[in-house]
Symmetry: C2
Amino acid sequence: MLVSAHPEITVALLGAGTVGAQVARLLAASAADLQARVGAPLRLTAVAVRDAGLAREGVDPALVTDDAMAVATSGADIVVEVMGGIEPARSLILAAMEQGSSVVTANKALLAADGATLYEAAQRHGVDLYFEASVAGAIPLLRPIRESMVGDRIVRVLGIVNGTTNLILTRMDEQGADYGTVLAEAQRLGYAEADPTADVAGHDAAAKAAILAELAFHTRVTIDDVHCEGIVGVTSEDIKAAQDMGFVVKLLAIAERTDDDGGVIVRVHPAMVPRSHPLASVREAYNAVFVEAESAGEVMFYGRGAGGAPTASAVLGDVVAAARNRVSGGRAPGESTYAQLPVLPVGSALTRYYVNLDVADRPGVLAAIASVFAEEQVSIQVVRQDGHGDDAGLILRTHLATDAAMARTLERLRGLDAVKQVLGVMRVEGEA
Amino acid sequence: MLVSAHPEITVALLGAGTVGAQVARLLAASAADLQARVGAPLRLTAVAVRDAGLAREGVDPALVTDDAMAVATSGADIVVEVMGGIEPARSLILAAMEQGSSVVTANKALLAADGATLYEAAQRHGVDLYFEASVAGAIPLLRPIRESMVGDRIVRVLGIVNGTTNLILTRMDEQGADYGTVLAEAQRLGYAEADPTADVAGHDAAAKAAILAELAFHTRVTIDDVHCEGIVGVTSEDIKAAQDMGFVVKLLAIAERTDDDGGVIVRVHPAMVPRSHPLASVREAYNAVFVEAESAGEVMFYGRGAGGAPTASAVLGDVVAAARNRVSGGRAPGESTYAQLPVLPVGSALTRYYVNLDVADRPGVLAAIASVFAEEQVSIQVVRQDGHGDDAGLILRTHLATDAAMARTLERLRGLDAVKQVLGVMRVEGEA
């Protein structure tokens, strides 16, 4: 074991829930390894919790307090924030930085809502701000984007970044059950929250998409810039139609430059993905993200996107980085928004679409429908028509079209006599 | 665009082959972006090549020289070494560090043979040594292991790190052709070198395995510590047998802690992998690496493992990191071999095996063979017997066994009357 010439690095912890308790446990269990890797011992000095009376396995009760501001401003070398939520987390982080503490946080909501305030404070006070755990849990993703691929030009980030919705969609795909049934089962088993809105409405994925887009494109992006559709409207018919076409439904987070480099578009929505695409085999609560760069080509990262221990692993990596900087005098890369690309509305995004129509079963229907697509400049790739009595099903997949053109097409289709109902519309991603 | 308060960062380049030419091109093409990301302009000051008379696209002829030592000792902030080979690369890198230059290298052979000398020199002269491009080209892998996962305890690194052999094995699998035919085709198409030894004998993968093992386990590992078998002995019968069992043959690099944490084993060899395993779908010249850590679980990295532009992307990421450190006063994480785990011989590795025997087709043969396995404590998982005339084929897969026990078993099998020939033996990896 190395004998360190450096003084100890103090760590204060805000939050001792699923992640925080694991961070505390690992700081103790891996103390010797961490000391050798940092070049100085790490010492946990305080843990802020909501209810100080509650015992927490692996956390020394003497360190526990419910006075979070006292912990934040205790002057620790590193303050770890794993409480979540916008406030009081933001005030606590800002107060910690003002005391000269570097900050490690897993707080995607705060970063996506108001990251600029945190970056600016870190810059002003000359401290580090690390947040690898805020996106895709245990998967090293932000550091590779900010550091390993920083000499390249990233054109697209695309992936599955919410485990709960991926679990629900996986079960719908496997069991043929409808959304409500699968969600209820996931809640009963603890895989989905009692109030699942943040996950199923896509907000959690949208926050992560904003963070990824900002780092990839050196452009300020907040959650308000992200077009966000959740999985609440995904029906078992959509899943079935996807299966029939050799596709699977996934909730994707996508951040991309437009082809003319005139801006970036950031969106979260369900999409059909070919079963042969690597993302199709990302099942249950796993996450996977593709980063496409001009020189590197496509790089994929895959692993556990959530959970106490995996998230704590990412937090501890950041703690070691911040601690090493304390020892060596280095600094985390700061915010870089020099590119200032405009964030464009989703209407300008080019994607393929799946459209499922309930139509009258009579001659000329397909011709009428095809004319509408043609007049709106939406080119049809595949059509499949199934007659069943009076009704007929018509399933189409389009070539690349703008959201705006597709919206106009759908409006006109709804006005056609021959179209009884638009049963489903979904974007298609990942086709060559 | 940021107006930088920092002076320029100078970059000198050793080598202008496939990778070097791309590095030079990207430094020019991305100058504005790189300046904004670093906080100072990067300026290419010199390029050392073997034949200075040869024109190189994108490289200013005024910078080109064949005096590599002059370039190495020019006092540039960053010296990029992309010549490859042990010497003169090592002497040039050491001379550059002595002048106070940080070094970025893609030289896996040198790092795996004598990394300690480079690390030590970097430490002594207070300069950075980065080498992301040395393993798995464009895939961010070393930085994630050294930094993102540094708070965790890595137990295993397993992957496909040589594109040429993966391409050959993919074609053998797809075409049913034999090794020699596919190799000749790959050579004709430029995917394999005229002298393919470094790839097909596993040396390239072994160098990468040594680098990965050292970083993952904080233990000094050189290429001499790596058990290395190439793909030269893989037959179309092995591929066929793998297919029949639902497996595919891959050349794997594996570095793992032993279960009792008593040491590490590092090995490169062909292995059968279940077709359902994510590594089975890594085809052609792609690379993919699993890193398994105690808290993070399994994380996978996937992308292009070679090629001029992808490798240059990784080199430039390191150049930006080293340049940022010049600007901020930070330091790359140095070598960390504090754990000093013993590197154990492959005989102590526990793996499953596939064994293909040509046996006499008469009663009692299976019993005789099964007795030998049992007496050597090698437990059989699956047996398949195919009679064909006088001969019979017997294919077995074992449960976990040591290399040593398997070697004893094979020796005894070869001595049995009933066994005419051992047609194939291969390790099996990736089973749950």
